[in-house]
């Protein structure tokens, strides 16, 4: 970004304008483009894809009336929410209540500053990128607590406090499972971490050694918990808390909360991709800068969105955990295991200072065999359902 602006200044554009003003304007324009073109569409589109995906998993069809196959459903939902009245309860703490959604939104949008889209497509490649990412995500807790407190509603308050406890707890395993990657690369810059990996799966940190393989799953689990996603969506548990901290919200503010939630899903996928799945790395295909950038962007987006789909799929599969189970999973299982992981990676680096390609390849084969076994299980369940529907084993009168 800065290099691009520097080259423009050298070519004589913006003569007479102070350099810092050009940088600031460039940042604001880039931020606005990212926000409008990318985040809005990804967050909105995810709501539609999520609803269709759940529907298919539950043997339903899902929204399919607005536009071809219902693809415009999310736009219509958004317009409806924008046009609704923005109700603020009389006894609510007005300024806090009004500001809370924007704080949550900020906490999630600010992550896009360091999230890369390609080797050249990044707003700012900070040398403390990972620390920045963890710090900025903490803003979400403040926003949620603000919303819970300011609503002057017991459901909101309990939801907000639960969420704060949950996010603060799960930041520890997610931070600790990022640590092995920092040990391996020696950098906190996200671009630096991606550059340390290769395009081939066995060059990814996911398969670098057994410890990073475990770290990835710990990271993904705790990222789901941090994003208040099922099976850890206790702050919004409908059966207990109405809608948690969003109970009193309506209209645009409600929309902003949910945009942050679904946008956050993409952030989870993008960070996992960056740290463990080789980011935008592609084999060298051509010297054309534009073509390479587009291919890198597509690679990164596909990898990141795959994990968004997995998160949706998990939400359709797993039931919500209890509060004590939530804390047990975090403090008794994820935190100790991630500590062991950290030590394990450190020991591994002592034994193999430059990594071990054979082990990486074996880990890759392990991954492939897990996926293969998974699909065998899927076909097993499909066959069983087929027997139930068409064979003698007729169990359900509805099938």
């Amino acid at each position: 970004m800065q290099d691009f602006l520097d080259s423009l200044i050298q070519q004589g554009y913006f003569s007479g304008v102070p350099r810092d003003v050009v940088y600031a304007a460039g940042m604001i324009i880039a931020g606005a483009i990212v926000l409008l073109v990318f985040i809005l569409n990804v967050a909105g589109g995810s709501t539609f894809i999520e609803r269709r995906l759940w529907a298919r998993i539950q043997s339903r069809v899902g929204p399919n009336r607005v536009g071809p196959q219902g693809v415009l459903q999310w736009l219509v939902d958004g317009i409806k929410l924008v046009m609704k009245e923005d109700i603020i309860p009389t006894l609510a703490d007005r300024p806090l209540f009004m500001a809370a959604p924007y704080v949550v939104m900020m906490g999630f949008v600010a992550t896009f500053v360091v999230l890369p889209f390609g080797s050249r497509l990044v707003i700012a490649d900070m040398n403390v990128g990972l620390v920045y990412l963890t710090a900025v995500t903490g803003l979400v807790v403040i926003g949620i607590l603000m919303a819970g407190w300011a609503s002057n509603n017991k459901w909101s308050l309990i939801g907000g406090i639960r969420s704060a406890a949950q996010i603060v707890s799960y930041e520890i395993p997610s931070g600790l499972s990022v640590f092995p990657i920092v040990l391996l690369t020696g950098t906190l810059s996200l671009q630096g971490i991606i550059k340390a990996q290769g395009w081939a799966p066995w060059d990814w940190f996911l398969f670098a050694n057994p410890f990073t393989f475990v770290a990835f799953f710990i990271f993904f689990t705790s990222a789901l918990a941090e994003g208040n996603r099922t099976p850890f969506d206790l702050p919004e548990a409908e059966s207990e808390l109405v809608a948690g901290f969003v109970t009193e919200y309506s209209g645009v503010r409600y929309l902003i909360f949910f945009m942050a939630e679904w946008g956050n899903l993409y952030v989870i996928g993008a960070v996992s991709t960056t740290l463990f799945l080789g980011g935008w790395q592609i084999p060298h295909l051509s010297d054309n800068v534009v073509l390479t950038t587009v291919l890198e962007f597509v690679t990164f987006f596909v990898k990141a969105y795959f994990w968004v789909l997995v998160a949706m799929w998990v939400r359709a599969t797993l039931p919500r955990v209890r509060v004590d189970q939530l804390m047990t999973v975090c403090w008794k299982y994820l935190v100790p295991i991630s500590f062991v992981n950290m030590l394990g990676v450190a020991a591994w680096m002592l034994v193999f200072p430059t990594g071990n390609r054979v082990v990486s390849f074996l880990m890759f084969l392990l991954g492939v065999s897990i996926v293969t076994y998974f699909f065998r299980r899927v076909f097993f369940h499909l066959r069983r359902a087929h027997v139930r529907e068409h064979g003698e084993l007729r169990l359900s009168p509805l099938s």
Binding site: I57, S59, V61, W313, A316, T317, F374, F379, L382, A385
Partner: protein, 188 residues
């Protein structure tokens, strides 16, 4: 369930989540069960319903004898028939045959005693409307002469068709021994 240790719990979690995901994925690639009523169907629902389905009432005035059996049978008086004798032809003339579908409870008692099967339920069930008034079905627009069975048998093919359908409808209510619900009362 037996108590498991620390590692056992972890293995249990991994295994159950893994298999649960496999189950949901197998559902993902199956066909949805949803029937997209009313506009995206291969056949209308009405066409798939059985002959005896009790939908909105219908009267074939051409074969109505004006016997008032249905009006008497109706437990909530939603059928109102005005019939009078024509002094010249000595035949019955129907001047009014109204069924208030808002009151009707679809019990089917009116169609059982009908001698010709003129009043019967249709498979039509979509009765939503904007006012109660429009739910009253008025079958008689101009006074009509009631149907009188001919001794020599029916010869008009149009009415014959209606009669066949009506009698088949009445026959549906007959018990396995061939008795109609009305027959038992006469015997008793």
């Amino acid at each position: 369930m037996k108590q498991r240790g620390y590692l056992g719990n972890i293995i249990d979690t991994a295994k159950t989540v893994f298999d649960g995901m496999a189950v949901t994925f197998s559902h993902f690639v199956r066909r949805p069960f949803t029937v997209q009523y009313p506009d995206r169907m291969d056949v209308r629902v009405q066409d798939t319903l059985p002959f005896r389905y009790r939908g909105i009432l219908e009267v074939d005035l051409e074969i109505c004898t004006g016997c008032l059996a249905c009006e008497r049978a109706c437990p909530i008086d939603c059928i109102i028939i005005d019939a009078k004798k024509d002094p010249q032809t000595k035949g019955m003339v129907l001047t009014r045959f109204d069924i208030d579908m808002a009151k009707c409870m679809y019990c089917g008692l009116c169609s059982e005693p009908c001698p010709t099967g003129s009043i019967h339920h249709t498979p039509e069930f979509e009765g939503a409307d904007y006012s109660l008034e429009s739910l009253i079905r008025r079958f008689v627009k101009d006074p009509v002469v009631a149907y009188k069975p001919k001794k020599a048998g029916e010869d008009d093919p149009e009415i014959l068709e209606m009669l066949d359908r009506g009698l088949r409808y009445v026959e549906e209510f007959a018990s396995p021994e061939g008795k109609k619900p009305g027959d038992e009362e006469e015997a008793a």
